[in-house]
Symmetry: C2
Subunit: 476 residues, 2 copies
Amino acid sequence: MVEKLTSQSVDYPRWYQEVVQRADLAENAPVRGAMIIKPYGYGLWEQMQSVLDRMFKETGHQNAYFPLLIPESFLKKEAEHVEGFSPELAVVTHAGGKRLEEPYVIRPTSETIIWDTFRNWIQSYRDLPLLINQWANVVRWEMRPRLFLRTTEFLWQEGHTAHASEEEAHEETIRMLGVYATFAEEYMAMPVIQGMKTDREKFAGAVKTYSIEAMMGDGKALQAGTSHDLGQNFARAFDVKYQTSEGKEEYVWATSWGVSTRLVGALVMAHGDDQGLVLPPRLAPIQTVIVPIYKGSEQRSTVIEACSVMEKALQAAGARTHLDDREQFRPGFKFNEWELKGVPVRIEVGPRDLERGEVVLAFRHSGDKKSLPIEAVATEVMNVLEEAQRGLFEKALAAREANTHSIDSFDEFKERIDGGGFFLCHWDGTTETEELIQQQTKATIRNLPLDAPDDPGRCMVTGNPSPHRVIISKAY
Amino acid sequence: MVEKLTSQSVDYPRWYQEVVQRADLAENAPVRGAMIIKPYGYGLWEQMQSVLDRMFKETGHQNAYFPLLIPESFLKKEAEHVEGFSPELAVVTHAGGKRLEEPYVIRPTSETIIWDTFRNWIQSYRDLPLLINQWANVVRWEMRPRLFLRTTEFLWQEGHTAHASEEEAHEETIRMLGVYATFAEEYMAMPVIQGMKTDREKFAGAVKTYSIEAMMGDGKALQAGTSHDLGQNFARAFDVKYQTSEGKEEYVWATSWGVSTRLVGALVMAHGDDQGLVLPPRLAPIQTVIVPIYKGSEQRSTVIEACSVMEKALQAAGARTHLDDREQFRPGFKFNEWELKGVPVRIEVGPRDLERGEVVLAFRHSGDKKSLPIEAVATEVMNVLEEAQRGLFEKALAAREANTHSIDSFDEFKERIDGGGFFLCHWDGTTETEELIQQQTKATIRNLPLDAPDDPGRCMVTGNPSPHRVIISKAY
């Protein structure tokens, strides 16, 4: 028997740790706060990478690679940047058997080394926009690490772009936020809210930071991606100027944006249930699993043969399919295991199914079952998977809507915040109020939604005027 | 005008540095011995990754990811391993604002952290073989760095596998060496010799190391990939045992194998000439470039329109195609630039070509030109590229054969070694003789070819018996 997971309702954080490890996504490394991403978890990340990489290229970006180690002095060139990152740095002081004259830091993000390089790559307006992306590992010394959500080392992509005008940089910032939102919704089946972070929560060195925020299964928010309008901050810090078409010299305008292996954690918590993972078909490393059901070796050979034929037909139709023909486990054990691993569609094939010429498809996200004629399985599989993809998104959207509340009284807010969910509230725009809300409730302003309707009101804490509602929630 | 490169015959190392930088493959980073891989160079690496990754998956391997930082004590568990790598280590002594209790080293390779993990992943024969690959960056503090060939940080893949028997591990070692050879020959168009390294040259911690060795344009050898039979060395160091199907406990057998961004340097030197890079079509980020030729704006619009149609047709046919429609440069300048960048096929399109209904294709590797009816370009392009791929391999093979010499006298060897090339010589199998050859000539035994015919003879240095010839050459 597969041992049962701790129920989400009993202990959500423990459920998370268990499902990540038991579904073979990742495990803790013998290195403080780091993780080992196991093949199944890495397969999920590879699916994400492949889609995102295509989306970045379709929007005109090229990949490049910059060094892991950054001279410590580079970090210090942008004042806010170094202040934000220095508590989290890992520092190389010795190499090749000697003490280094200047220590290197392991990149916590690559703005500094990239803008130092951009100085040589950009001379004229003809060199702009410069649209670069990097797939890399970064290190940030986290105090309270959790698998995927917060690890001392993580994998990510970081886009770094240079533009000839403030408007173009702003457009790029919003465009890439939109790419992240599309990816989250259409591939992860995870609805997100695009919005601007408050000044207090913005990236160290940015003029404005934008985020996509998703709701997890326990009603908490998770920041799933950020896009930064960096203004001319890094161009000034690294002296990156260009000659305009009129022959003038001007500082370049910048953006940066990133998503990381944190998205794997988001996927786990956006859709998972007490049986384990629930993966969206478009990203699932295994989209359909075939489980043969038989008694004795004669039945076995007939059933396995039919399953093999079906496996090949499904693969030829474009579905990532696995035939679980292990002899040492019973079907019930296999059902549980593939449910734990979140495979979207299970196909059960037994002797009676073969006689009837039909098989049963079981959907992970809904628990529904459906019969299909055997010869229709391959022709229908991609439709079936798309149906499951939509169903999962709609389920997540409905859950988010059911847990989103418009609240106008701080007392009511304080009463309800521990129940989880997104709270749409008026806020007076001051850091003081923002801090007060966090101190009293542990909730934070997640973002100021881009599509917030004009809805003037009064701050729920101070009563001062507010132009529209913001999202407040507890968060990962 | 594109400035001329230093000629290979004048100064080969300088030619290499210039072509790598001027063709936009990479540049030196402001970090000792590290490089910045520019989009064109990274595009080449992405093509390599994509083919290799497919080949690894086709041979049953799965990707995973292990930490960048390794506790220093792990390195010390395998005696030869730590001895080999400790001079090259970069060490993290501080993180999160504090001195670490135990320093971490940045992985120079991942055997130690991976075998520490495999201990938990392997219990029984059912868990074997375990076939893992990792795409990662590694750091080795090189004293004499050169772009791509020897950098303090490089990108690579490292395969790590665990097996139930010595034979299976040996088979895997040879299988992956074969995958590398196939990749080198069929994709890089670079003939290689598969063979065993001498004990003196084997990987620190291996029982046997195998390599593929390629000949560069100056006649020197370059080790392009290695595959190691690790025996039970790491299993013993990290106590990784499995239960056999008979219920006995045994240590696991291991392999590891890797290729790196060094392959980009190999590609440059295997095929490059005084005009710049020569890229094999199967890996070229741009396989065909269309250069419009026109005078005045009226001709321009007709020609550009025809070029755009052709670009789309070529892309639809599966050819990575770029239309160079920049207005500020003349065709001659563009020809030089795309030759520098090694694009396999250039298509010239001018008004007279359009009138005749034909265009001229120019092949980078041979300098040949060929006319094709416009309507045949898209249907023929993949054949044309495959033809260029074969032509390039044959050219490289002919060059290697012309520069490979069977030599039986050490005096003759010493006279001819400075002229470059591979020397097939008899060697008595001792480390003393191997060291003597290197001290007197700076040449090294590259490997003992797997397919060396039985050809007993006498060591060219000592006259002692030798079963077959080995390859000796100067090397990168």
